[in-house]
C-alpha cells in the first residue's frame, strides 16, 4: 500500500497548487462577467474565497478517488484537470460543454477524472458518494470516496443517514463539510444548534476534526490524513473546513445580509494572497514567476471563453438524447417514452 502525500508538498507541486487556485479565481471572475453579459443563464454559484478548500482537498487525493460536490463546483472540475474550454462551454449551454449543455453551472461532471458531479439538491449527493465508497470496497480497490458539502447540507436528514451508514459499515469515505458560515442568506447561528458541525459525524463513530479552510496547506494536510484513515485503516473520516465565500449565494443574490466589515475581515485572509506570501517567502516562486503564471492563466481563461462563445448551440433535434442509456425505438414500441 502506498503512503499518503507528505503534509508539505515539493516546490513544483506548491507552484501547481497556487496556479490552480489562481485559475479557479480568474475563471470564476470571468464566469461572473459572462453571466452579467447575459451569456450564462440560470444559477451561477461562485466559490471565490473557497479556493484553498477546493485545491487543498483535491491535491491530497489520488486522481482516481471518486469526488462528488454541490452545485458550487467549477473549481472542483478545474482542479481535477477538466478542460476549462469544456467547462466554460457548459456554462454557456453549448454542444461542446462537458455535459453537452444538459447540466450547466450546477451539474458539471467529468467521469474520466473521477469527478462524479455537482448536484443541486442540498445534501442530495452525499448518499451517492457513499455508494461510490461502497463500490470501491465491493471491488476491493484502494479508492476513497470524497464528498464536499456545505454546513447547510449538514442539517439535511439524509446526511445524518449517511454518517450512520458510513460509521456502521466502515466505508472508505471522507465527508468534507465546507463551512462557509451561510446557508444562502441564513448564518449558522440562526440555523444550527451548535457552532461546529464535525461533532455530528463524531456522534456516528467517525473520526472528525476542524481546520482553517483558508489555508491551503492546512486543508491538504487534513485531507491527506482523512484519506489515509479511509484508505489504510478502512475508517471513514470527516473534516470541517471553516471558510468564507466572498460573493452572495449565487449571482442573483445581491448579498445585502452580510456586513461589509465581516467580508473585509475574511478577505484580509484571502487564500491566494496568503499562499503567495508563503511561496515568495520560501523562495519557491519570485514576483516575475507570479506575473508569468497569472498571464498564462489569463490566456487559458480567455481561450476557454472564446471557445465557448464560438461553439455551436446544442441541436434541438438532440433534445431527448441521454434520457435513457439505450435510446428507445419509438416506431416499434409506441410513443409514450419521450416526444420532443
Amino acid at each position: 500500500m502506498t503512503t499518503s502525500p507528505p503534509p508539505v508538498p515539493p516546490p513544483e507541486e506548491m507552484r501547481e497548487i497556487f496556479r490552480t487556485m489562481t485559475l479557479i479565481r480568474r475563471f470564476e471572475e470571468r464566469a461572473a462577467e459572462e453571466y452579467m453579459a447575459g451569456r450564462i443563464g440560470g444559477f451561477l454559484h461562485l466559490a471565490i474565497g473557497e479556493e484553498a478548500a477546493i485545491v487543498g482537498t483535491i491535491s491530497a487525493l489520488r486522481p482516481d478517488d471518486p469526488l462528488t460536490s454541490t452545485y458550487r463546483e467549477h473549481g472542483q472540475a478545474l482542479a481535477r484537470g477538466t478542460d476549462p474550454r469544456a467547462i466554460m462551454a457548459e456554462l454557456l449551454g453549448r454542444d461542446t460543454g462537458i455535459c453537452r449543455g444538459r447540466g450547466g453551472s450546477m451539474h458539471l461532471m467529468d467521469v474520466q477524472r473521477a469527478f462524479y458531479g455537482g448536484y443541486g439538491i442540498v445534501g442530495g449527493a452525499v448518499p451517492l458518494a457513499l455508494g461510490l465508497a461502497w463500490a470501491a470496497r465491493y471491488r476491493e480497490t484502494e479508492q476513497v470516496s470524497v464528498t464536499m458539502f456545505g454546513e447547510g447540507a449538514a442539517n439535511q436528514g439524509v446526511v445524518s443517514e449517511c454518517f450512520n451508514m458510513a460509521g456502521l459499515w466502515d466505508l472508505p469515505m471522507v465527508f468534507l463539510i465546507l463551512n462557509n458560515q451561510y446557508g444562502m442568506g441564513t448564518p449558522v447561528e440562526r440555523a444550527a444548534a451548535m457552532d461546529d458541525f464535525f461533532p455530528r459525524a463524531a456522534a456516528y463513530d467517525i473520526e472528525s476534526w476542524k481546520v482553517d479552510g483558508m489555508d491551503v496547506l492546512a486543508v491538504r494536510a487534513a485531507l491527506s490524513e482523512a484519506a489515509r484513515l479511509a484508505r489504510e485503516e478502512r475508517r471513514p473520516a470527516c473534516v470541517e473546513l471553516l471558510a468564507y465565500r466572498y460573493r452572495g449565494h449565487s449571482m442573483s443574490d445581491p448579498d445585502t445580509v452580510r456586513a461589509a466589515e465581516e467580508k473585509e475581515r475574511w478577505k484580509a485572509r484571502d487564500p491566494l494572497i496568503t499562499f503567495e506570501r508563503v511561496l515568495l517567502g520560501e523562495g519557491i516562486i519570485d514576483a516575475e514567476g507570479v506575473a508569468a503564471m497569472r498571464a498564462e492563466v489569463d490566456r487559458v481563461v480567455d481561450d476557454a471563453t472564446a471557445f465557448a462563445r464560438e461553439s455551436p448551440e446544442v441541436p434541438i433535434a438532440d433534445l431527448a438524447d441521454y434520457v435513457y442509456a439505450e435510446p428507445w425505438n419509438d416506431a416499434a414500441h409506441g410513443s409514450a417514452l419521450v416526444r420532443p
Partner: protein, 333 residues
C-alpha cells in the same frame, strides 16, 4: 413430460430471478431493510443471504433515502444494485433520490454515466392497513422521464421483467403487488427475459378493451368472466410496463372493439387511468363509440374499516359497470 413446468408463486418467481441474476453477474447485489436475516418482510429474499453472504445481501438501517441514494452511487460506479424498499409507501421518503438523482443523472451529465439499478417495492391495498400503508403510486413514478416502470401481474412476468430490469442500463422501478405474492403460475427458465414495452392480451374479446396491470388484471379477468355470462366479450390487455408503454397494442385492440375501460388501483386525479385514457383518445378518437371508462380507487385516503376499504378499491363489479356503460347498457340486477 420432461418439459413440464412446476407452478411457483409470484414471490418465488421474484426470488428465482434475483438468484439467477446474482449467479450470472457478480456485480448484482441486494440491499434493503430486513432482506437478509429476516429474509424480507414478504419473504421474497428467502435463502439468498445463506447462499450469497453479507457482501451481496445487505440488511440496512431504516434509512430509505440513504440506502436508495447509496445504491444510485454504486450503480454510477458500475455495480448493479437491486434495492428492496419494504413497501411503496416508504419510497416517498426516498423520492428525492429517485427523482432528482436516479432518473436524471444520465441526462443531466450528458450520458457520462449509466445508472443500472432496480428499485423493487410492493404496494396496493386490501389488507386493512389503512391510509399510510396502502398506496398505489404507479402514476408518480411513471410521471418521471428517465425511469422505467414495471407492473407485473403474473409469476412469469415478475420473473421475466425483473431479469430484464437487472440487466437494463437504466434505473427501473419494479412495482410488485402485496396481494399477488401468493399467486401461483408457471415461470420461464434462466434465459427467459420479458422485454419492456410489450403488452400482452390476457383474454381476447371483441366488444370492449379493458386495460389493467398487476393485481387489477385479475380483477379485470373476473369482470370479463361475469360479462361473458351476459353475452359481452371483453378483451383484457396487460401493458406489463407503463414506461415504456406499448401503446400500439392497446390502440390496435381499441380500434377493433371501439370501446375501452382502464382499471387502475391508484387515485383518479392525474392518475394512470387518466393518462392511458388520454393516449387512447389521441390515438383512437375516430374509432371510439363511447367515452373511455376509468375505474380507480376512490378519491380518499385508504380507510381502515373492511367494508369501507373494499368500497374504496376497484372490484370486478365496478369494472363490469364501466364496460356496460361504454355499451350504453344497464348492469342487470
Amino acid at each position: 413430460m420432461s418439459t413440464e413446468v412446476k407452478d411457483v408463486t409470484y414471490r418465488e418467481a421474484i426470488n428465482q430471478a434475483l438468484r439467477e441474476e446474482m449467479i450470472r453477474d457478480e456485480s448484482v447485489f441486494l440491499m434493503g431493510e430486513d432482506i437478509g436475516h429476516f429474509e424480507g418482510a414478504f419473504k421474497v429474499t428467502k435463502g439468498l443471504l445463506a447462499e450469497f453472504g453479507e457482501k451481496r445481501v445487505v440488511d440496512t438501517p431504516i434509512t430509505e433515502a440513504g440506502f436508495t441514494g447509496l445504491c444510485i452511487g454504486a450503480a454510477m460506479a458500475g455495480l448493479r444494485p437491486v434495492v428492496e424498499i419494504m413497501t411503496v409507501n416508504f419510497a416517498l421518503v426516498a423520492m428525492d433520490q429517485i427523482v432528482s438523482n436516479a432518473s436524471k443523472i444520465h441526462y443531466m451529465f450528458g450520458g457520462q454515466v449509466d445508472v443500472p439499478m432496480v428499485i423493487r417495492m410492493p404496494g396496493g391495498a386490501g389488507h386493512q392497513l389503512s391510509a399510510q400503508h396502502s398506496h398505489s403510486l404507479d402514476a408518480m413514478f411513471t410521471h418521471v422521464p428517465g425511469l422505467k416502470v414495471c407492473v407485473p401481474s403474473t409469476p412469469e412476468d415478475a420473473k421475466g421483467l425483473l431479469k430484464t430490469a437487472i440487466r437494463d442500463a437504466d434505473p427501473v422501478i419494479m412495482l410488485e403487488s402485496e396481494g399477488l405474492y401468493g399467486k401461483k403460475g408457471p415461470v420461464g427458465g434462466e434465459d427467459h427475459l420479458i422485454p419492456f414495452g410489450q403488452a400482452v392480451v390476457r383474454r381476447p374479446g371483441r366488444d370492449c378493451t379493458i386495460v389493467a396491470t398487476s393485481r387489477m388484471v385479475w380483477v379485470a379477468l373476473a369482470a370479463a368472466e361475469q360479462l361473458a355470462a351476459q353475452g359481452v366479450e371483453a378483451e383484457v390487455i396487460d401493458p406489463r410496463t407503463y414506461r415504456p408503454l406499448d401503446l400500439d397494442t392497446l390502440a390496435e385492440s381499441v380500434r377493433r372493439t371501439s370501446r375501452a375501460v382502464v382499471v387502475d388501483e391508484g387515485w383518479p386525479e392525474c392518475g394512470i387511468a387518466a393518462n392511458l385514457a388520454a393516449h387512447l383518445y389521441e390515438s383512437c378518437f375516430d374509432w371510439l363509440d363511447a367515452p373511455v371508462g376509468r375505474v380507480n380507487s376512490a378519491d380518499v385516503p385508504m380507510p381502515y374499516a373492511k367494508n369501507l376499504e373494499q368500497a374504496a378499491i376497484p372490484q370486478p363489479a365496478d369494472v363490469v359497470a364501466a364496460v356496460m356503460a361504454t355499451l350504453a347498457r344497464e348492469v342487470p340486477r
